[in-house]
Amino acid sequence: MEKMHLKMKVNGEDVETLAEPRELLIHVLRERLNITGPHIGCETSHCGACTIDMDGKSVKSCTVFAAQASGADITTIEGLGNPDSLHVLQEMFKEHHGLQCGFCTPGMITRAYRLLKENPDPTEEEVRFGMAGNLCRCTGYQNIVKAILAAAAEMNAAKEAAQ
């Protein structure tokens, strides 16, 4: 099948690649761009392991064609922090034991990142509702909720301190 030329911004860098029009975004990210943080768990957009941030929205990249992402600004788990400067969510997931096998974690954190932009000071109920598109089989969610609430508190405290 003839390939198309795709350009997009991924984790702050301009990238281009060739891909078939029918290729799913998750496959282009993982197999053509070697961004393997987002995972594939179900192919029916239920589990959220493939969650990325695209043009300011949480998107399940297993049910988006790469062609639809042409020109998009994409952030994946790899773009949220780096070893010298972790995102608060990355720190809080470790601090509160919000992960076990780690397979859901990139999607989970990437979704939480957008949730806290949409609602910087969520209640527990709002976290549970806003994160319900991401499944975890290991943790029972309790510590994930704790981690996200702790991250929100810390981010808000930092914002206040800066003002």
Partner: protein
Amino acid sequence: MNEMTPPKAERAAALKGLGTSRKRVEDARFTQGKGNYIDDLKLPGMLFGDFVRSPYPHARISSINTEAAMAVPGVVAVLTAADLEPLGLHWMPTLAGDKQMVLADGKVLFQGQEVAFVVASDRYAAADAVELVEVDYEELPVLVDPFKAEIDGAPVLREDIADTLEGAHGARRHPNHIFTWESGEKDQTEAVIGEAEVVAEEMVYYHRTHPCPLETCGAVASMDKVNGKLTLHGTFQAPHAVRTVASLISGIAEHNIRVISPDIGGGFGNKVGVYPGYVCSIVASIVTGKPVKWIEDRIENLTATAFARDYWMQGKIAATKEGKITGLWCHTTADHGAFDACADPTKFPAGFMNICTGSYDIPTAYLCVDGIYTNKAPGGVAYRCSFRVTEAAYFIERMIEVLAIKLGMDAAELRRINFIKKEQFPYQSALGWEYDSGDYHTAWDKALDAVDYKGLRTEQAQRLEEFKAGKSRTLMGIGLCHFTEIVGAGPVKNCDILGLGMFDSCEIRIHPTGSAIARLGTISQGQGHATTFAQILASEIGIPADDITLEEGDTDTAPYGLGTYGSRSTPVAGAATAMAGRKIRAKAQMIAAYLLEVHDDDVEWDVDRFSVKGAPERFKTMKEIAFASYNQAIPGVEPGLEAVSYYDPPNMTYPFGAYVCVMDINVDTGTTEIRKFYALDDCGTRINPMIIEGQVHGGLTEALAIALGQEIAYDDMGNVKTGSLMDFFIPTMWETPNYETDHTTTPSPHHPIGAKGVGESPNVGGVPAFSNAVHDAFRTFGLTQSHMPHDHWRIWKIANDLGLHE
């Protein structure tokens, strides 16, 4: 002690050893998207394999035409059973002593069965070609109901063994019958039941479900034809056993096979077995000379690999009028699907189902399990439980409730008067196990106090009055459970898989500068082994956990072990770790004594050092000893500081727990709300409380899923009705409650550090607690037993059948 030496407690804390809620070392890579899971692996020239699967549950294959598929650009090969047959790989042995088709050999026996394997340059080309393989099927009558397997005219499923009267587990009485397995005293138990003052009888069904880890199964096989070496990467919970099995079935010498389990995205029993995808990847790599990747999609995962449970348990429980249990009888019809691929120790075709006397002192018992073939996927794995322990726990915890109804007794009190007493341990059960330790009454009382059990019953009665008066449409259920597990398989004398004894191992190397690497025969799938096993070692050898690297999963470097499942890592490999640590310490003692110029017996262990008895200011730290082991010529002592231990446990361990679930049920919608869930676990010595708590939360959520909605359901035609996450229930954050965790500590007397294992307890104990809560809510209206999963419709149906909608 000299002035520079920090106090004992401070030095011990710096080690982050046993009992510390040490943060996980695995998390740095997982939180940054740098995990290394099987589908992340990319090798040069790698091809991609994909299966053609049967749409029919039972059919003869008259022809397979691969011509059109082969014409798809990028397609390299299409393998069928005919291609595998010359290699003797069209069938493979199962873990249960049966054999299984790798690719359909003349017929298919379940929907989703592997028929052909397409190998192509990428997954899209492979998927295109899968669509173009033309298979002609002739449909055959389908057997779905295991109770119809032996009636006249039942279709014979396994024609390959139809005339074989002797199976891997004794006599077979019908072509669709796999085995009969008995435990206990039949005549005596039936006599006790015949003469009993009270007998409760019930059919308890634990439905078919699936472990469904978030990562599906997969493998990358890479045959290096130049060196004759096969490297097999994959989602293996038992990498060493996979190496041995791969060698036995492929004929490749075992030293020429390297098996690597990378990071695994959850296992829960799904990744214990050997699947056709692994075998086909290996063959395809041998045929093409290139690495071949195979990754299941979710539908394939749910429909073809590793179902769990599906036990129909007919029970009778006998008691005196006062409630003292006198006997327990159980006949189980076990639906094993088309091939017997249960992951059980060889001598236990029904796993440890004979732990079904539970936490109770039952003098007489009998268990009989019949394994049956049906047109369903093979499996029968231990989904977050030791082999069939969760079925056993569900059975006895339902039978206790049913007996309480019959006696008109409070179910909490009925449990209490029948618990095995603390002073009875080690306790010999009627079905042959020796329970190592326990203190059930203490745990039970603590749990009932914590939830204010009496207060809950009072509230329940008030709410019932309101319901009866028409003021409310909600019923309150209190779900009780006291479970006893049997984990840590197991003693080589009676536990093996395919002849491989179920010991486990640890090898430790101390580096010259006093840090260390330890390698184990197990493999973490989220349990945090790299964190917790380093803690065991830190306490044993006085080197900080942060200075110990822990490696698992590479059979070229790790010592042989039987892997991680059945809560066996801590009881078996954890014990090996402690024992290897003790060998290190014994040698370190000799080195310290030499350096301090005293006799070996004149030094004593002090947290992270050896000091001279009576002169604590004279000491050698482990760091100093480590360096000395590399640079001193010590008479009679080899250089270096290394040890390996292969641990054969003397007994299983028996974790237990007391759970209480409080549930509100809307009788008109069938919806449930978990208002409270209290979980007390006793897993013996606690290594990392943070990780234990996380395991309990996760296991309870899996239990909630199973009890309240998750199932692999088939229709009468043998079609899978719940083959994707559209229909297969996994609770989201929204449906999942918060849990209260608690513990008592009863160390295992035979384990070197007293630990028992915990990962599976919450699934084993959680399912009965949730299910009992549903039953309890309707008890007063006459409900004694209703089969799981208790989804909204089934609960609505209970209410409707009881006339509560009139």
